[in-house]
């Protein structure tokens, strides 16, 4: 019997909750997150009509949190895909080819790890200007170091295996060996690090939007909602609490899912293949 994996289940449920909210936002609410502003209902506490209350312009916080999930998940997942592509191609090729290329990639990875990624993303955003595409680029270029390291160490341990040597003697090209022999055998650890990466990208998006460099108001990103709610924190705390809670649940969900996956994919946790 496999041990009950609480992290995996809890992380899976929380992640699923957020994904459902994002995908079915249009069905879960009848209001529009930007244009359904009604100053008659401004700063109303949570009630039967507005479950999470309203903000200073009378927009439904519940609706905005749901649509905010779309932005957060898009940023989290797309930027992590960019990170994974960069990290995997650099890490696998560095370990496989070795030599000066390996030294170069190692140096680059160390530099990336030494720069606080949020500051780096801030700098890129400052150059590119706010908006969703520049957010994806900024976060996609700054968080690949761990993926790269894991890909590199996995490749180092895999490339001495018989099947990799056999592929070389059978005439496979280097790229084909990396794609068919090395990559599929490191899916486990890469999946784990990517899941954790989505969580940190969601957090980074919120931080950048909070600072006004990410998604600009009036579009409902959780970070920009927090910016707007900052001044109302005393009179209408719900406008800050619910987007904050949404960030918390999303990041916690992805982190638990990552931890759970790591345990799930660890062969020592298995009792039978």
């Amino acid at each position: 019997m496999r041990r009950f994996n609480l992290n995996l289940w809890l992380g899976g449920v929380l992640t699923l909750l957020v994904i459902t909210g994002a995908v079915f936002a249009g069905y879960l609410t009848s209001l529009d997150p930007v244009f359904d502003a009604n100053l008659m209902h401004a700063e109303e506490a949570p009630n039967g009509q507005f479950w999470f209350g309203t903000d200073e312009q009378g927009r439904d916080v519940y609706t905005r949190v749901l649509y905010g999930a779309q932005i957060s998940l898009t940023v989290g997942i797309v930027s992590q895909i960019i990170n994974s592509i960069i990290g995997l191609s650099l890490g696998i090729s560095a370990a496989y080819w070795g030599g000066w290329w390996d030294d170069f990639v190692n140096g680059l990875t160390n530099v990336m790890l030494a720069i606080p990624s949020l500051i780096f993303a801030l700098a890129i955003m400052a150059v590119l200007g706010p908006g969703l595409p520049s957010l994806l680029i900024a976060l996609g270029l700054t968080n690949w170091s761990w993926t790269c390291r894991i890909a590199r160490s996995s490749t180092l341990s895999l490339k001495g295996q018989g099947y990799v040597q056999a592929a070389q003697t059978l005439g496979y090209s280097d790229i084909r060996i990396m794609a068919t022999q090395l990559l599929p055998n490191m899916v486990g650890p890469i999946l784990v690090i990517s899941t954790l990466g989505i969580g940190s990208a969601v957090l980074a998006e919120a931080a950048l939007s909070f600072l006004g460099l990410g998604i600009r108001p009036p579009f409902p990103s959780w970070g920009s909602m927090l910016t707007g709610a900052r001044e109302l924190i005393v009179v209408a705390p719900w406008a800050a609490v619910f987007p904050g809670l949404a960030i918390f649940i999303t990041v916690l969900g992805f982190n638990l899912l990552g931890d759970g996956l790591r345990d799930y994919l660890d062969p020592h946790m298995r009792t039978r293949q």
Binding site: A166, Q168, S173
Partner: protein, 317 residues
């Protein structure tokens, strides 16, 4: 004399070891130190020796998995190393390798069919040609066509080694490099794999280079035997000459390690090796009188002497 199928000429493989940050005191580990070998068509040549003697490095150099420092490797009298030579694809049709560990030599994420069809497709076979070839090769190595749909972990060690052999044969190579082909297997299945290899050698007119330290297997399979010691060939000859009349002291020591049931039954009967003549003076290696050879030293000039027809022994210069 006809041109040998495979010829290794004065092969050297060196690895830099140690050395300070600025590159001082860098020493070269001479893993393979001037090896000359040749393999005739249809022959099984065994390279024996202890771990770390350079026999696997020699094999990897022939396979193109390890770049030689110097020396030449020829197939049909044409060199296969250096710039102006064969691509990886051409090389794949010359020699293939059967690996020691059947558990690490199959990709756990691929079915047998996938790992056999990919090289065929790469070398230009159509889908149906590939399928026919896979069914044929699986039958040849004693597996069933329906095994193709399974993953590596669904097989036993012996079956995995059969798959490894099938993969090595799938491109119809002329030389099979056997790197300890049975040493990771259960004793009960070793004989099956050895007999399979001997049958395949006859059916497909293959030539084998076998790397081994299991002298029982070597005696059973080889036509010729080369004894390697610290990167050099110390004795080479026909198997019966090597086993009946081992001349180099290191070869004698190796052969003395073969478990012999007769010695238990007849404790007073001496080992066959004791009957051999004492080694001539000045052998490169003499365990009683010299220290272990220095692996960092450059090779001594070629000094294999012929003690009998096709039986060479290394002697110090």
């Amino acid at each position: 004399m006809t041109v040998p199928l495979l010829e290794i000429r004065d092969l050297h493989v060196q690895f830099p070891v140690g050395g300070s940050l600025l590159g001082h005191n860098k020493r070269l580990l001479r893993a393979v130190n001037g090896v000359n070998l040749s393999l005739a068509q249809g022959e099984c040549l065994s390279i024996v020796g202890e771990s770390g003697c350079g026999k696997s490095t020699t094999a990897l150099a022939v396979m193109g998995l390890q770049a030689p420092t110097s020396g030449d490797i020829l197939v049909d009298g044409k060199t296969i190393i250096g710039d102006a030579t064969l691509s990886r694809m051409d090389r794949a049709r010359i020699a293939q390798m059967v690996f020691q560990d059947p558990y690490a030599s199959l990709n756990p994420r691929q079915t047998v069919h996938q790992s056999l069809s990919a090289p065929l497709r790469l070398h230009g076979a159509s889908k149906s040609e590939a399928n026919d070839r896979i069914a044929d090769i699986l039958k040849k190595v004693g597996l069933l066509p329906e095994h193709a749909a399974r993953y590596a972990h669904e097989f036993s060690g012996g079956q995995r080694q059969r798959i490894g052999i099938a993969r090595a044969l799938i491109l119809d190579p002329r030389i099979l490099m056997l790197d300890e082909p049975v040493s990771a297997l259960d004793v009960s299945v070793r004989a099956q794999i050895i007999n399979l290899l001997l049958d395949l050698q006859e059916d497909l007119s293959l030539s084998f280079v076998m790397i081994s330290h299991d002298l029982g297997v070597v005696e059973h399979m080889s036509d010729r035997v080369a004894v390697m010691y610290f990167g050099q060939i110390v004795e080479v000859g026909r198997w019966d000459a090597i086993f009946a009349n081992p001349t180099h002291p290191y070869t004698r020591k190796l052969i003395a390690t073969i478990p012999d049931p007769d010695t238990i039954l007849h404790p007073h009967r001496n080992r066959a090796t004791a009957a051999a003549p004492p080694p001539p003076a000045g052998f490169y290696f003499h365990p009683e009188t010299t220290d272990r050879p220095d692996v960092y030293a450059a090779a001594t000039p070629s000094d294999l002497i012929e003690v009998a027809p096709d039986h060479f022994v290394r002697c110090a210069t």
